[in-house]
């Protein structure tokens, strides 16, 4: 039997708190899960610094990747025998689902911002490079790895397959909303996925939803809306993210200034130099990052030491609302005052905008940039969701901007010049701070 068709003697299952069980019968999928590149995802948290706010959010990219695979497997089972569905694409879909986040590194958002990296680039590199994952995929058939990479990059010719993995209502989003809700413990994020899977229909170049399933999709859209504002954009999580980003900036700056680290930051060197090979990229996981942050708490450099101590011990920056239009002169004045007080505003005064974080919000198609969710009407026509649903229409295109100014409030009490403190307090709070 060809490797691509090979089945395990017995079905394997992974117990899963979201989907109850993740079922594996295909040898290829089983082999991919066993690769070092996929196992590495166990050491990368799905939500980065969110566990600092929601302590349960310790789940990994490994959990999520298995979940996305399981959802796609179930969708495909429902698609069997339907028009437009070619069962030859089954393995391609499942492999792409399983591997779609393979290139994520530790604290992806901060690392990508500071070191100008792109996890999608590394997903491609792992699938196409000299890796065990590549060997497994190429054993299926020569060129299969490239096909999987193309589906994940959304550059494959089969748009239907792409839309299963990546669209406004796809397996990726359906898994992470439910999983993140489960592990954070919030009551948002729940929707009737079984119902959505039952009403999904393949058409020529996308997956559409039978109009009778519209209310289940409304629930899904609402859960996304709530999860973004209640969990993903939580201001405390953003504070931890701000500090993490500043640690990386400081460490890079010190390296470039020939600073003598007590222990050579070997795992970071290629990141500081901007030339990260695949091998080096794969070596860095969250345990390694935490190890260095632990060590850097004892560095000579005051800023690096302080930022690491804050991150490791959850001594976070406080924040106030900030309007860049009305308060830009306030910000510039605050920067001066911080400098006068000996606090470097480059590291200790940070404006953070919510869209600096991963953000994918439902928007009806505008100038055809993004494929909207289409409802399949009883007469066979397609209607865009927000044209049919008042609920979705009401949250589409609403104001979603949030700017906050982060700073270490505890530092302000160490300033000796009272006039400086008073002016800072006036700008930040419009009155004296409550200690």
């Amino acid at each position: 039997m060809a490797y691509k068709d090979e089945q395990l003697n017995e079905e394997k299952v992974f117990k899963d708190p979201v989907h109850r069980y993740v079922h594996v019968r295909d040898r290829v999928i089983w082999d991919l899960i066993a690769t070092p590149e996929f196992q590495r995802l166990r050491r990368i948290k799905q939500l980065g610094t969110t566990n600092i706010t929601f302590h349960g959010a310790e789940h990994s990219r490994f959990n999520h990747s298995l979940g996305v695979y399981e959802i796609v497997r179930r969708i495909i089972n429902n698609f069997q025998g339907r028009p437009h569905w070619n069962n030859e694409d089954r393995l391609l879909c499942m492999c792409a689902a399983l591997l779609h986040d393979l290139g994520h590194g530790p604290f992806s958002h901060s690392f990508e911002k500071v070191f100008k990296l792109d996890h999608e680039f590394y997903t491609q590199a792992i699938i196409m490079g000299d890796t065990v994952v590549n060997k497994v995929l190429e054993r299926v058939s020569p060129g299969f790895a490239q096909e999987v990479a193309d589906v994940i990059a959304k550059t494959h010719s089969n748009k239907l397959v792409i839309s299963l993995i990546s669209s406004q209502i796809d397996a990726d989003r359906m898994d992470y909303l439910q999983r993140d809700a489960y592990f954070t413990g919030v009551s948002y994020g729940h929707f009737d996925m079984e119902r959505i899977l039952r009403v999904m229909r393949p058409i020529e170049d996308q997956v559409v939803i039978k109009s009778s399933g519209m209310h289940a999709v409304e629930d899904y859209i609402m859960s996304r809306y709530q999860m973004y504002w209640q969990v993903y954009f939580h201001p405390v999580t953003r504070s931890a993210e701000v500090i993490l980003t500043k640690i990386l900036h400081r460490a890079k700056h010190l390296y470039e200034s020939d600073y003598n680290f007590k222990l050579q930051p070997t795992h970071f060197l290629s990141f500081f130099l901007g030339k990260v090979s695949l091998k080096e990229y794969l070596k860095l996981d969250e345990s390694i990052v935490h190890y260095y942050f632990q060590l850097w708490q004892e560095e000579e450099d005051k800023i690096l030491r302080d930022l690491c101590e804050r991150f490791m011990n959850r001594r976070l920056f406080k924040y106030v609302e900030f309007n860049p239009n009305k308060q830009i002169s306030d910000l510039l004045r605050l920067m001066e005052l911080f400098r006068e007080a000996g606090i470097d505003p480059e590291y200790y005064l940070v404006v953070d905008s919510s869209s600096d974080l991963p953000y994918d919000f439902y928007r009806p198609g505008e100038e055809e940039e993004r494929l909207p969710i289409h409802l399949l009407m009883p007469n066979g026509s397609l209607k865009e969701l927000s044209r049919q649903s008042d609920i979705v229409e009401s949250i589409s295109g609403k104001k979603r901007t949030d700017h906050k100014l982060y700073f270490p409030k505890d530092f302000l009490y160490t300033i000796k010049d009272e006039k400086i403190i008073e002016e800072i307090e006036r700008i930040l709070y419009g009155k004296e701070m409550q200690s």
Binding site: K154, P324, N325, S353, D360, E368, E369, R370, T401
Partner: protein
């Protein structure tokens, strides 16, 4: 800190007005691919390189009153026009932006259609591939656009022209 917002405002300051969301996306992507330091992350979407971050940042700038968005009703769609406001100009005057001027390139790009910029940005997205593979890839990912060989040649010429201007 607000650097990315300021870079986009600088772009609008030089462009005066940009018409069309798709055109805006493709212009920023093309400039970025020639090294203009826009930080927005682009991914391949159904219609070429597209940045959700850019969409959201533009919306933020509109909400802040730094960029004006005018909606024009066309026969079967909406067209959007973007320009820097007085508040935006004032903000830029107070904020130092570390970005090279690219007004000549912007002017050239503004003179092209969004369909053509979609082709150029898609070709740049696959720029690591040999030229003939780029052509095949464009036809694979955009079969409905039916780009002609002449358009491809014109796109390569524009890419060479921009490369000469920016580097």
């Amino acid at each position: 800190m607000l650097d990315n917002h300021a870079k986009l405002m600088q772009f609008f300051s030089e462009a005066k007005q940009v018409t069309g969301r798709k055109k805006l996306q493709k212009m920023v992507y093309i400039l970025q691919s020639f090294g203009i330091p826009f930080e927005e992350k682009f991914q391949f979407h159904f219609y070429g390189p597209y940045s959700e971050e850019l969409t959201l940042r533009i919306e933020e700038l509109c909400n802040l009153g730094f960029i004006a968005e005018e909606k024009e009703v066309k026969s079967n769609y909406f067209q959007y026009h973007y320009s820097l406001t007085n508040d935006g100009t004032q903000f830029l005057n107070q904020f130092s932006v570390n970005m090279p001027s690219c007004s000549e390139c912007i002017e050239i790009l503004q003179g092209k259609s969004s369909r053509f910029l979609e082709l150029v940005s898609t070709m740049l997205y696959f720029k690591e591939l040999p030229k003939d593979e780029v052509k095949a890839k464009v036809h694979t990912v955009k079969p409905k656009q039916k780009y002609s060989d002449e358009e491809m040649v014109e796109a390569w010429n524009l890419i060479d022209e921009l490369a000469g201007m920016i580097h």
